[in-house]
């Protein structure tokens, strides 16, 4: 296991909290009817979403899912611009045209969230092809959900990445459901990582709620891909506490299951780790959480103060 510095542990805890507060705020704004549109919350999935991105090197790229807030925050996106985008404002990442499902920061290697389930697999192959062709030494981290692995594009992309030896890590956040559908109803295997066998690439299943395991595994996978040895498939088992999106009555699962998973909460887990290993004092830990919280309040203020886009912008940016 890799020895983790204080600095990285700090970032982990801060960012996971930031992701959670961000989404709690999003949830609140919806509940108050303050936002037109939709968003998918990944509360409970902060280890797989945030921490895996912390293993990236500068210049590495990421492709995100429809459930991408934690992924984006992990990658280092600015929560002000994220919140402004979510609220459809001109200062948002996409000038209010994308919303939660299309947050992106292309210049910095974040090639975007994707509203299409399975839409990111082949885009990631392309981004990885660029790295290979230009010999940048950079790797693409491609996020997807368990449900997405039943799309044809999963198969085609893993196969292409394998035969072309592309520098890419496919990170499946297996939260056990695709919308209302338990994974067990939609595939006959227990571990999605077994699908790596079809392409003769490494496949790993990990506890996606364990921040340290996520970090170490993704780091190793990235190294493998960076060394030119080809793609890796990593499956992180995790869980979302909230419904699929707003208006989900969650008839497909019960309270006990959710409660069980709340016991395994990744943020609490890291907190406990920090406490047990005496990395930080309780006060320091609380301070980090407070700061994360403050950053989201600031983000909301930023977003609220951001103007609506000019109506004429509707015609802009169709073509380069």
């Amino acid at each position: 296991m890799i020895e983790l510095s204080e600095e990285i542990l700090l970032r982990m805890y801060y960012k996971m909290n930031q992701a959670r507060f961000f989404e709690e705020k999003v949830d609140y704004l919806f509940s108050k009817g303050l936002v037109h549109g939709t968003a998918h919350l990944s509360i409970g999935q902060e280890a797989s979403g945030v921490i895996s991105c912390l293993a990236l090197e500068k210049g590495d790229l990421v492709s995100m899912t429809h459930r991408g807030h934690a992924q984006a925050i992990g990658f280092g996106l600015d929560v002000n611009l994220m919140m402004a985008e979510f609220m459809g404002r001109a200062r948002g990442y996409c000038k209010g045209k994308g919303g939660s499902m299309h947050i992106a920061d292309v210049q910095n290697g974040n090639i975007g969230a994707n509203g299409v389930v399975g839409g990111g697999f082949n885009l990631s192959c392309g981004a990885a092809l660029t790295q290979k062709y230009k010999k940048t030494g950079k790797v693409v981290l491609c996020f997807a959900g368990d449900g997405a692995t039943n799309q044809g594009s999963f198969h085609e992309s893993l196969n292409l990445a394998a035969v072309w030896n592309l520098p890419i890590v496919f990170l499946i956040e297996n939260n056990l459901y695709g919308m209302s559908s338990p994974i067990s109803k939609n595939m006959n295997i227990e571990n999605i990582s077994e699908r790596s066998g079809s392409y003769d690439i490494p496949g790993l299943t990990i506890d996606g709620n364990d921040p340290i395991e996520v970090y170490n595994t993704v780091l190793k996978a990235l190294r493998y891909a960076r060394a030119g040895r080809g793609p890796v498939l990593v499956e992180a088992k995790t869980y979302r506490y909230n419904g699929h999106s707003k208006g989900d009555a969650q008839v497909y699962r019960n309270e006990e299951e959710i409660a069980e998973w709340r016991e395994k909460d990744p943020i609490l887990r890291l907190k406990k780790y920090l406490q047990e290993n005496r990395v930080f004092t309780d006060k320091q830990i609380q301070t980090m959480a407070n700061e994360a919280h403050k950053s989201i309040e600031t983000a909301l203020k930023f977003a609220m103060e951001s103007p609506e886009p000019e109506i004429t912008s509707v015609l802009e940016d169709v073509y380069a």
Binding site: G88, G98, G115, G119
Partner: protein, 335 residues
């Protein structure tokens, strides 16, 4: 049952009622899609159907749009009558081989040996703040493919009458639902034999001054505009090609001959949209000589659908656009 009995219900409930009646009537009808079972579908259209019909007939699928449609085609060609739901019309992009190269062509390329009785339900349109990948209106694609039929209801009664006709049809029928209509409610005939024949354009309002041809969510806006204009003394006739393909042009041509002025409107992007086809057919028809003014197309802007609410609304014709267009035609009259 009194065959003229009516009940007020939503568009969503009317689709469900139509499907339910047909599934009761014919065991060969099955229904497949993502999260249509216990979840009741992303828009609640199939809410509760699993309780009546069970998992054997209400089939939740993996997230595999291409295979949902391909499986429906294969099942239809071998004796079932599948309905399938694609959660958002935008994802029919995954199923175009199955739909276009297989389902639509099978009968023809096999020299008439087979038939493919299936219904593909496609929730379409913008207005929900779901942005570019969840808001498209792609009916023009489907209306370019011989072998498919394409219908789109605008009211609860049409929803019931057309879904039943679609299920009974022996061809692949694309059934386009507009998401903004799901909550609209209105009277629906309870008669189990109430069917709206595929291939008919419906006259939604009679008038002598101007013809508006429109469908889907824009019909409501056109109706509202017409009510407004009636107070100014302008009588608008509104025609709804509820079957988009093959389209029944006769009532449209007759109306234009009567009014001499026509507006063609849809939510889909203007360029390459069905409006062009309708305009061309009017111009090719006898109505050409009766046109007193240029034809106006009102349509979606040629842009992807943006997220921001105001921008999103700006992409699609609104009631005020109909009113302005009518005024423009009245003013530009050339006699």
């Amino acid at each position: 049952m009194n065959t003229s009995e009516m009940k007020k219900m939503t568009y969503r409930d009317a689709i469900r009622l139509g499907m339910t009646e047909e599934m009761r009537r014919d065991d060969n009808v099955i229904f497949m899609g993502e999260d249509i079972g216990i979840y009741g579908g992303a828009f609640g259209v199939s809410h509760g159907m699993i309780d009546e019909f069970g998992e054997e007939r209400i089939l939740d699928t993996p997230i595999s749009e291409a295979t949902i449609v391909g499986t429906a085609v294969g099942a239809a060609a071998t004796g079932l009558r599948p309905i399938c739901e694609i959660m958002f019309m935008d994802f029919v992009t995954f199923a175009m081989d199955a739909l276009v190269n297989q389902g639509a062509k099978m009968r023809y390329m096999f020299g008439g040996q087979s038939q493919v009785p299936m219904v593909l339900r496609l929730p379409a349109g913008s207005g929900t703040g779901a942005a570019a990948q969840h808001s498209q209106s792609l009916e023009a694609w489907l209306c370019h493919i011989p072998g498919l039929k394409v219908v789109t209801p605008s009211t609860p009664a049409q929803a019931k009458g057309l879904i039943k006709a679609a299920i009974r049809d022996n061809n692949p029928v694309c059934f386009i639902e507009h998401k903004l209509l799901y909550k609209i409610d209105d009277l629906v005939p309870l008669d189990e034999e109430f069917i709206i024949e595929i291939g008919k354009t419906l006259t939604e309002r009679q008038g002598k001054d101007i013809t508006i041809v429109t469908y889907g969510s824009l019909l409501l806006k056109a109706m509202e505009a017409a009510a407004f204009l009636a107070e100014e003394g302008i009588e608008v006739e509104i025609l709804n090609p509820a079957t988009l393909y093959p389209m029944d042009m006769k009532p449209i041509v007759e109306s234009v001959i009567k009014t001499g002025r026509v507006i063609v409107a849809h939510e889909a992007a203007k360029t390459g949209g069905l409006g062009g086809e309708i305009v061309a057919r009017i111009v090719e028809s006898d109505a050409f000589d009766y046109l007193n003014a240029p034809i106006i197309r009102l349509a979606g802007l040629d842009v992807p659908i943006p997220y921001n609410k105001e921008l999103e609304a700006a992409c699609v014709p609104q009631k005020i656009d109909f009113i302005r267009a009518v005024h423009r035609l009245i003013d530009s009259e050339q006699g």
